[in-house]
């Protein structure tokens, strides 16, 4: 692997960092260490190469947004919109993540080792999300595809107006949102969850989780409800 390149955010701007990351093309893995993050927005956004990026410090809004192929690790907390619209690769946060983590994500894996706040996985479209702690209210709102795994508790209105994503929760759930219901945990689901927990480096028994998904009553037209429209 190529030697590690170090970027100091007390000496360089976010734009310089992102330009450098965009310039690191090619299929060979390359390593970048970013130090002195102090809540700066839009760090490591739009990467399109198999980079290993380690960010030290807390990050601001939209960190690792639109990520493709890269593994981005934040040694700190992340603000609003972590890994928004992630396409592939892995984004891992060692601390907590604020609202709308992994929003609209289409692929890849997002791991939050602390808690995630409101609207985690809002409108997710294929991303896998594993939260070691709890998630806030309205998580997986209008989720369309992908999996959200919550090892702790889930806040109010989990999975409100959900389409086809799968939700797994180990702790307590404040309440389920509209059209979200508990589903049977089949051996296939248990095996798939075990694999996902392994990928996320979580040492928990898949048997301790409950599965939730769409009741499919909200988005199919029902002729009996025609008068309501």
């Amino acid at each position: 692997m190529a030697p590690e390149r170090v970027f100091d955010l007390s000496a360089h701007t976010m734009r310089e960092l992102n330009q450098a990351l965009h310039d690191m093309t090619g299929d060979a893995p390359q390593r970048v260490k970013v130090v002195n993050a102090q809540g700066d927005h839009a760090l490591a956004v739009g990467i399109d190469a198999p980079l290993e990026v380690e960010i030290h410090g807390h990050v601001g809004y939209y960190c690792a947004g639109m990520n493709k192929h890269a593994r981005v690790t934040v040694h700190g907390n992340a603000a609003t919109g972590l890994a928004e619209n992630i396409m592939s690769g892995v984004v891992r946060v060692k601390g907590n993540a604020s609202q709308s983590a992994a929003a609209t994500g289409r692929g890849g894996l997002v791991v939050i080792e602390g808690d995630a706040s409101a609207r985690c996985g809002i409108s997710m479209k294929g991303v896998d999300i594993v939260v070691h702690g709890a998630v806030g209210h309205m998580s997986a709102f209008m989720a369309q595809k992908g999996r959200l795994v919550v090892c702790g508790d889930a806040g109010a209105a989990l999975g409100d107006s959900i389409y086809e994503a799968e939700l797994y929760v180990r702790g307590r759930i404040a309440d389920l949102g509209a059209d979200c219901e508990e589903k049977e945990m089949t051996p296939e689901h248990r095996a798939a969850l075990a694999a996902l927990l392994r990928d996320a480096a979580v040492d928990l028994d898949p048997g301790d989780f409950r599965r939730f998904g769409s009741a499919r009553k909200l988005y199919h037209f029902n002729i009996d409800h025609a008068d309501a429209y």
Binding site: H58, G60, S98, H137, A156, A174
Partner: protein, 315 residues
């Protein structure tokens, strides 16, 4: 958008450095609110029975000694006054309510920016750096401060429309968000005796808290009642004579982060505004819960919180 910041010093040895610690927090929020800036600073309390006022007049050349002379004559009291950029800091031994009434009747173009025993509010149209330097924020000492950088949405960019808003004694409010039922609530509060000085939605919330507390509610109760009566988006920070409080609406779209060490408690719209504080690397950091009241008050300043939780049907 808008940015809000608050800093409460638990360690009194830091009080001489309040302005120096607080100014970078305010400046860091420039992108969130570049059109107007304001801050409330709590310091140098006047004795019981006296009142400290910050006044403002549309004309920068306004003769403040004329106001001091009128007040001296009306209240038979010594009046100290000092011009601070476009504002005037004025103290006298007289009841606050009577002074407010007198100014309203005799000098209607003079705005009362703040009144109380501890509070001083300074606010102006302009970038945070311009406003902070014009009022020499950096050199101010004090126990706690609350600030706001404004990106106007609901009303005009004017000094009167800038935050913080202060309606009650030593009480002030800053707000990130927008209220949707402010017109109806304003009419209700006017019937309850509130007098408004702007078309601003946040002034309605400030008047609401003032009316609530004059009717006997504690700060915490007033904030909890707001969950039922105020419709819209908000992260509020409220300053009091000896502390501050934070409240987010049940949907909690407007950001807030808090941090606490043995020396201070801070809140801000974003972490980067807190990042410059001494000892931040060891601070307890958290995001305030929706529909939950956080209050720090008094010398010990241990946080208390109460709330009905996110998405709760308040009422």
């Amino acid at each position: 958008m808008c940015g809000i910041v608050g800093l409460f010093l638990k360690n009194r040895a830091l009080e001489p450095r309040l302005g120096e610690l607080f100014q970078p927090m305010l400046l860091e929020m420039t992108q969130r609110g570049p059109d107007s800036t304001g801050f409330a600073i709590y310091r140098d309390p006047v004795p019981a029975g006296s009142v400290k006022l910050v006044l403002q007049h549309p004309s920068p050349e306004f003769d403040w000694s004329h106001v001091a002379a009128l007040l001296t004559d009306a209240f038979k009291a010594d009046v100290d006054h000092r011009r601070v950029h476009t504002h005037c800091l004025l103290t006298l031994a007289a009841p606050e309510a009577a002074v407010r009434r007198y100014l309203g009747e005799h000098l209607p173009r003079v705005a009362i920016v703040s009144a109380g025993r501890h509070i001083e509010i300074y606010k102006e149209v302009g970038l945070p750096i311009e406003v902070a330097e014009a009022f020499d924020l950096k050199s101010m000492r004090g126990s706690h401060a609350i600030g706001h950088t404004r990106m106007a949405t609901e009303s005009a960019v004017t000094t009167a429309g800038s935050h913080p808003f202060s309606t009650g004694s030593d009480l002030c409010l800053v707000h990130n968000g927008s209220l949707s039922n402010h017109n109806r609530l304003r009419r209700k509060l006017q019937k309850a005796g509130a007098v408004f000085s702007s078309e601003n939605d946040t002034e309605v919330a400030a008047q609401y808290f003032d009316v609530q507390m004059r009717q006997g509610a504690s700060l915490e109760q007033a904030l909890r009642n707001a969950l039922a009566d105020l419709d819209g988006f908000y992260t509020f920070t409220v300053g009091t004579s000896d502390g501050f409080a934070v409240l987010r609406d049940p949907i909690a779209c407007k950001p807030a982060v808090m941090a606490e060490t043995d020396d201070w408690v801070a809140m801000a719209s974003e972490y980067r505004a807190i990042a410059s504080l001494p000892g931040v690397e060891g601070a307890r950091l958290w995001e305030p819960e929706p529909a939950t009241v956080y209050v720090w008050e008094g010398a010990g300043a241990t946080g208390t919180l109460s709330g009905s939780g996110p998405l709760a049907k308040a009422g």
